[in-house]
Every structure is written in C-alpha cells, then in structure tokens.
C-alpha cells in the first residue's frame, strides 16, 4: 500500500452533495460534526468547495431535475475522488423507484464507490463506513 494512500486515508476532506433526499441523511451527516460523533478525530473535514474534496457524500434519489447538476459536480472534483452513497435512497432507490420523476439507475449519473445502506444510516454506521474506506485505502 503506497505511502501516499496512507496519507490520503488519514485526511479525507468531505463535500456534501444533496440529490433530492428526504434531508434525513443530510441531518445525520451534519450530526457527525457535532460534539457527540466528532469525525475530526479521523482528520475528516467538511470543505466548502468541490475542488478541495476527496470524498463526495451523495444523498437522496436523484430526480430528473437534479441529475445533470450532480454529473457536473462529479466532473469538477479533482481525482482521486471517492463517491460515498449515504442512505438506501442512493444505494437502491428505496421506495421512490417507481416514480416518474426519479432517475432509474443512479450509477449512470455518478459512479459510486461505497454504499452506506440504512434509512437513515446511524452515525456509527457512517463512521464504520469511513473506517472501511480508510481500510480500503490502506490496502
């Protein structure tokens, strides 16, 4: 495992992309920053611009109006970038699959590396996912 991957694993900068969610996963992501589940211990920081991001936290089942913008956000991010899908909506479309206004396959819009199922996934589950992501990086 390269020395560089270990460095990347220890300092993941996160950017939050919300694609028409029910804003429960977004609140759980913000919960991670609050004192109880503070993720800055792992060197994870919420950054303001896509250019600084290492991890795109994507939430919500994309509806047709939001999908092209999420595509553009993904193209703007510097590689290597990881896309972590938070919640069942992104992972499997949850209960909104049959709707006329949602994109059937989300992997066409944005390639997803890691799925965190759960509606909403518990903050502990998200921290465990981050640990796995670090593990994957550490080889």
């Amino acid at each position: 495992m390269g020395w560089y991957q270990r460095r990347l694993a220890k300092s993941l900068w996160v950017f939050h992309v919300s694609g028409s969610p029910c804003n429960n996963c977004d609140i759980e992501i913000l919960d991670l920053l609050t004192p109880r589940y503070d993720v800055e211990r792992f060197g994870i920081k919420l950054v303001g611009s896509v250019r600084h991001a290492d991890v795109l936290l994507v939430t919500g089942v994309f509806n047709k109006k939001v999908a092209p913008r999420i595509r553009r956000i993904y193209e703007q991010a510097p590689k290597p970038i990881f896309v972590v899908a938070v919640g069942t909506c992104v992972s499997g479309g949850c209960c909104f699959k049959e709707s006329y206004n949602t994109v059937p396959v989300r992997e066409e819009v944005i390639p997803i590396d890691m799925y965190i199922p759960g509606c909403p996934p518990k903050p502990e589950a998200m921290i465990e996912a981050v640990a796995k992501l670090i593990g994957v990086l550490n080889g």
Binding site: G43, S49, P78
Partner: protein, 319 residues
C-alpha cells in the same frame, strides 16, 4: 553566496524548520478550537497528512482563467514566505549559530523594510491567484483581500516604526535585537506595549484568522480566492498560511521582546514567549465571529491607526 546561505535559506531558519514548526503549531490551533466546542479535535500529525495528501491530488486549472498566473501565484508566495522566514530567523539565532562558529549571514541594513515588502507581495499573490481563475466567488474573495490588505498595512507599518525609533533609527533587525539587549525589551515601555497589541491584531488580519478571515470565509463565499485551487497548489497555499504561524510571532519577538538568548534558562524563556503569542492568537480566533469587511476597515483605520500614531509619538519622546 557561499554554501552556508543556502543552508540557512533551505534548512534552518528557512524552509524546513518553519514548515515543520508551522504544521505542528497549526495542530495546536485546531485542537484548541475543537476543545472550545466540546469536540475532540484532530490527531497530532493531521496537518502533515493534509499537506502530503494534497501533493498527490490532481490539479485542475480553469479553462478560461489566466493559466500562468494561476500556477505561479502559490509558488511565488511560497518563495516569499521562505525568504521572510530566513530574514526573521537569522537575527534571532545569530548568537546560537555563532557558537558553532559558522559563517553568519546576519542580515543587512534595511531588512525590516524588505520584510514589509515581502509580506505585501504575499497578499498580492493571493489576490492575483484568486482573480486569475475567473470564478466569481474567487474574484469576490480577492476583492475582499485587497480591502483587508489596505486596512491592516498602514497599522502594521506604524507598529514596525516604534522599535525602529526606540533603537536609535536603525533599520537592521540584528541592530534592534542588540539595542534591546542593552536597553531592555521594548515591550517594557508604554509605546512598546501599545504597538505590541496593535501588532497582534494586525497579525490576526494578515494571517486571515477569524474574526478577520473575511476573504476565505468558509461557510460563505466558499473558501474565497482558494476556491478553484486543488492538489499541490492548494497544498502550498495551506502550507504558506501555516508557516505564517511561525514567522509572524518570531517577528513580534524580534521587534518587541528582545529576541532569544539560547543559553540554559534562555531556551525555556524563548519557547514561552513564542507559545504565549500563539495562544493569544488562537484565543482571539475562538472568541469572536466573523466581522464584515467595512467593519474591519473602519476598525483598523478609526481605532488602530491613531493608536499607532500615539505610540510612535510616545516612542519619539522616549517614553
């Protein structure tokens, strides 16, 4: 330019020493801020990880931006930072280095003026870097950076004038240090204390720490001028900002607290002086929210600059 100048430039008071110390001191800042908010805060080597990670990332350059300036700005800024660190570091560690009878390049007449110009160049580079991208948020941030620069530059010059006057109108840092060695640290006198306090606030603005981090307001205009930077260029910008944590307190120590005498107990006293200034900066950072740009402007001009003039007059009177 014998080999030793390169050593001074690149290793001891220059690049390596300042970078490593800057990354360590940056950790103190993040840890204290986290503790203020009941949070745990990052591990010790977090800034090192951040910097090396950024080195490995891909650099995206905006198509319609001015490509050359976009790339050049952080490198030139990095160069000026290293130069400033060496210029300030030399007079401080002169005696200690002479102990190992190394040839000393102990600065030249007027190096304080050169430092002021180099600091100006750093801000100008940030402005050019921001506006080179053509991104609206960045140009907005660059505009604010200019206003901030105008605001604190005048006050900073007055702050530097006080030690010059008190040490018999010399423009040489090492001469100021020797003058203080004989006449006692300038902070002892009334004008020295006033100038020191204004100096701290100017540092706050120059290093873009809250409450004056208007240009890179993270939650508002998306990291300001640094928005379009990614990868190594962003890494250099972040390293520059962290290196400021080192050479700005050292500058204040040289100007007001009589530099270091690193024999026996002197070392403890030197470390205490340095850490004291850093803690003051961090405390100011954590206690007040962001200030609007025009509030910052009239704060600097309406309060600090007249205060600086008074301090200068007192210094002339010899108080």
């Amino acid at each position: 330019m014998n080999g030793w100048t390169f050593f001074y430039l690149l290793v001891f008071p220059g690049l390596l020493f300042t970078a490593v110390l800057g990354l360590l001191v940056g950790w103190i800042d993040r840890k204290v801020s986290a503790r203020v908010q009941y949070r745990v805060g990052p591990p010790l080597l977090q800034n090192f990880n951040d910097f090396f990670k950024l080195l490995g990332k891909e650099t995206l350059i905006v198509k319609e931006g001015v490509r050359s300036m976009f790339v050049l700005a952080p490198l030139v800024a990095f160069g000026t930072t290293v130069l400033i660190a060496t210029l300030i570091g030399m007079p401080l560690f002169e005696k200690w280095l002479s102990g190992f009878n190394l040839p000393i390049a102990s600065g030249f007449d007027g190096d304080l003026i050169v430092i002021m110009y180099l600091l100006m160049i750093f801000s100008v580079m940030l402005i050019l870097g921001g506006s080179a991208t053509g991104n609206v948020y960045s140009s907005l941030g660059a505009g604010r950076e200019i206003k901030l620069l105008i605001a604190d530059e005048l006050a900073f010059i007055l702050v530097c004038l006080v030690p010059i006057i008190k040490s018999g109108y010399t423009l040489r840092l090492s001469a100021i240090v020797t003058a203080q060695a004989s006449a006692g640290a300038f902070i002892g006198s009334v004008s020295g204390v006033i100038a020191f306090i204004i100096g701290i606030l100017c540092l706050q603005a120059k290093m873009a720490l809250p409450p004056f981090h208007i240009a890179e307001a993270e939650t508002e205009i998306v990291e300001g001028p640094l928005m379009e930077y990614s990868g190594p260029l962003l890494g250099f910008w972040k390293l520059n900002q962290l290196m400021m944590y080192v050479f700005f307190p050292l500058l204040l120590i040289v100007l007001f607290c009589g530099g270091f005498n690193l024999q026996g107990w002197g070392i403890l006293w030197a470390v205490l002086k340095y850490v004291g200034i850093v803690v003051v900066l961090v405390l100011i950072k954590n206690t007040n929210p962001r200030v609007r740009i025009d509030t910052a402007l009239n704060f600097f001009w309406k309060y600090l600059t007249p205060l600086g003039l008074i301090a200068m007059i007192l210094a002339v009177l010899g108080v």
